[in-house]
Amino acid sequence: MSETTQTLTESAEAMPRGVSLWQDAWVRLRKNKLAMIGLGILGFVIVICVLAPWIMPYGYEEQDLRLGASAPSAAHWLGTDTFGRDLLTRIVYGGRVSLMVGFIATAVALLVGVSYGAIAGYVGGRVDAIMMRLVDIFYALPFMIFIILLMVVFGRNLFLLFLAIGAVEWLTMARIVRGQVQSLRQQEFVEAAISLGLPPTAIIFRHVIPNVLGPVVVYTTLTIPQVMLLEAFLSFLGLGIQPPMSSWGLLISYGVESMEEYPWLLIFPGLALSLTLFSLNFLGDGLRDAFDPKASKD
């Protein structure tokens, strides 16, 4: 008897305790070549952006008005903008803003949207109807006025930007999640959880949400580019970042205006954005598969 207990505790210690879906997902993700390439590129981009102040030869605000917009050269690998500022430097610094906005705002949207949608879908009935009509109302309110008001009420800062973007993007997420949860609610394993006596919150967060991660991840990868472009629009309205700081969205929108004269001002920021988004997309698909234990074995 004592021997059995012994082995039990031993093996219990040897066992990776609390191996979660997340750790498992990571193991599975590592096997996905495309996703790892995406992750690699993304990691590279993030590292470069974070290290920008230490590795960039120019400052993002450093002007050379007499040089003006110049094509790529040895001194300026990606050329300069109309102020003679080094484009590579500006892209790297812009990446800090775009990535931050992209990730944080999307995270806000994700958090709010997923919880909201899951609750509406799980609880159902009248609560669901009211919650979803609320979403309808938010959809219909004039976004522009909303933003202008935010600007007045809170002043302007980046945090607010995330809030504003999150406030818009969570709506669709909530809808998608709700739909998924509604069908999940009928599944027997949810009934099993109820019969165990699990409270509704535990059921939603332990049993329901992990099972809607697939569509959520996919929609998230679609949300990030939208968020990055929305940031440019909000900055344009005066809510976001201010010059001389820039972001990919802003660089692109400026680049559009002079795409004939100075095409590099459009092409390179566009490439940076696309490359990142493609990596994200592959990573997203990889994550979707990784979070689905079934997908790992063919």
């Binding site: 605000e61 002007q63 008005l65 109309t82 400026y254």
Partner: protein, 558 residues
């Protein structure tokens, strides 16, 4: 074969229909085939005498007493005619509805003799009584006409407009007979004749207005296609909001024989890039703007189509002189002196504008402003040190407010960098949506703000009267008794032009010594104009007199 098709799965048939529909999109489009005849709109217009005019923004309306914008002006002045007109190049007054006029010695009494062949588009004669009633209308307080102040130099006009008197007979405008109009002014107003070409002083057709509403009704639809009755060389035939406004030659116009355009089509071209593409695609004769980056390219490729002309306007920044640190004139001067205007003009502005060191543009009807300072970073640093910020130390971060627009952004970015590198002071750029920007200016809720001013008429007064104490457009907190004295009392009473200009120079020196504003450059207008457009000389008011324009179909860009 029929069985085969019927065997096609039903779902498949549906999708087939959709696919065909999708293809149809490619073939759909408008009915009048500008493209099908092989001619561009401009080429076709040249043959038909139709001018395609890029007009900037969509007109809010066409009621001369209500509208306020430049775009509206371009259309209203084709539909209506005031007492006088302006020569398209020199801007000298020339006869409009008034054939001739006399000005009394004291400069305060004007007598206009109206031409007897002037007609409304419905055939009614244009009479002196029409003008009296029209001026009564714009001065009627309930109408809320923003530009009623253009007539405030007329005796009692301001009191009537502010509701202080109710009897319009007390106002200094009288119809002596059907074709004689007499106007009594408070003081000799040298630019009064110029104002009579402003749409706020245009006559409107009383029966039409009263048919659709009362004299004070802003919301009546009288100025719409089918309703409107005007007295200009053209008459309104089409108006689709956000698409175009079309006016056609008015056969009842007294000088119709000499009007060579058959029609003008105005396009709202808010998006500069779109306007540029429309011009290049042969859809426009004339653009309202040129994208800044394109100017060097066009100056190289199509120099004869690029029309860049000095404009009666100044681009400047203003300081909130009630807020530290900008309540210190030394700080304001330091900032003004570190702006390298020559460099800015040459690089950021592509060399198309002139640097400005004062408010009034040089050579405004012979007026030259004083130059009280120059680019001098060395002196600027000294001033800043005197103000307590040696080498920018301790200088608080301050906001530079500007409304969202590409050219404003560019300038602000350059200035920010100049201040940072020369004075080591941290400017933070704040762009705001237009109305928010206006509200913050009105509430003096800013540190430094971008501003611009375009003259209403060619006279220094149109700029300088902004900065009287508590003037509605002041917004800087600038206040000087002497300044007010000159602008409000001495200059208006001075008949001699040189003596008046001397007073203005004194006032402007006061303004610039206090550096409440930071002038940057004198505006230019930038247009692309098709070479077939004739009779449209450039002028400093960007004034277009459509009566003189004609199209030469023999000229092509090829």
């Amino acid at each position: 074969m029929t069985t085969r098709i019927s065997r096609l799965p039903r779902g498949g048939r549906n999708w087939l229909v959709l696919a065909v529909l999708a293809l149809l999109v490619g073939c759909s489009g408008g009915e009048d085939g500008g493209g099908s005849s092989g001619l561009t709109r401009v080429e076709q217009g040249n043959l038909d005498g139709v001018l395609h005019f890029g007009n900037g923004v969509e007109p809010e309306g066409l009621d001369p007493h209500i509208v306020t914008g430049v775009a509206e002006n371009k259309i209203v002045s084709a539909l209506f005619e005031g007492l006088v007109a302006k020569h398209p190049e020199t801007l000298e007054p020339e006869p409009g509805v008034a054939e001739s006029w006399e000005i009394a010695e004291d400069g305060k009494l004007y007598t206009f003799h109206l031409r007897q062949d002037a007609r409304w588009t419905n055939g009614d004669a244009v009479t002196a009584e029409d003008f009296v009633w029209s001026w009564k209308r714009i001065l009627t307080p309930e109408l809320g006409a923003q530009y009623n102040y253009n007539l405030f130099s007329v005796v009692n006009a301001e009191r009537y407009a502010n509701g202080e008197i109710n009897d319009f007979d007390l106002v200094g405008v009288k119809a002596l007979d059907d074709y004689t109009l007499q106007v009594q002014l408070n003081s000799p107003t040298p630019y009064f004749l110029q104002l009579l070409d402003h749409y706020s002083t245009f006559p409107v057709h009383r029966p039409t207005i009263e048919e659709f509403g009362s004299i004070s009704d802003r919301l009546s639809p009288w100025a719409r296609v089918g309703n409107i009755v005007g007295n200009g060389a053209f008459t309104l035939t089409e108006w689709q909001i956000n698409s175009h406004v079309r006016v056609e030659k008015n056969p009842n116009y007294w000088n119709a024989d000499n009007i060579r355009l058959n029609a003008i089509v105005y396009y709202p071209t808010e998006n500069l890039v779109t306007e540029d593409r429309m011009y290049r695609d042969g859809q426009l004769h004339h653009t309202q703007e040129i994208v800044l980056d394109k100017i060097p390219v066009y100056q190289q490729e199509i120099p004869e189509q690029v029309k860049i002309t000095p404009w009666l306007g100044t681009y400047f920044y203003m300081f909130n002189t009630t807020r530290p640190p900008f309540d210190d004139v030394r700080v304001r001067k330091a900032l003004a002196m570190t702006v390298d205007r020559d460099l800015l003009v040459e690089t950021v502005m592509q060399g198309i504008v002139e640097p400005a060191y004062a408010l009034v543009p040089p050579d405004t009807l012979g007026y030259f402003p004083p130059k009280t300072f120059d680019y001098d970073p060395e002196r600027a640093r000294e001033l800043l040190a005197e103000a307590g910020y040696p080498d920018g130390e301790g200088f608080p971060a301050f906001d530079v407010l500007y409304n969202t627009q590409e050219s404003h952004r560019r300038l602000a970015v350059a200035l920010q960098q100049m201040w940072a590198s020369e004075l080591n002071i941290p400017a933070q750029l704040v762009n705001q949506e237009w109305k928010v920007y206006l509200e913050n200016q009105d509430n003096m809720n800013y540190d430094v703000s971008r501003r611009g001013w375009i003259g209403d008429y060619v006279d220094p007064n149109t700029f300088l009267d902004m900065y009287v104490t508590d003037g509605g457009n002041n917004k800087t907190g600038f206040s000087s008794e002497r300044y007010d004295e000159i602008i409000l009392r001495e200059a208006p009473a001075t008949l001699d032009r040189e003596a008046r200009y001397e007073l203005y120079r004194e006032a402007e020196t006061l303004l610039m010594e206090s550096m409440a504003i930071l002038p940057i450059y004198t505006y230019s207008t930038k247009h692309l104009t098709h070479p077939s457009v004739k009779g449209k000389p450039s002028n400093i008011m960007d004034h277009v007199n459509f009566n003189h324009i004609w199209l030469d179909p023999t000229v092509t860009t090829e």
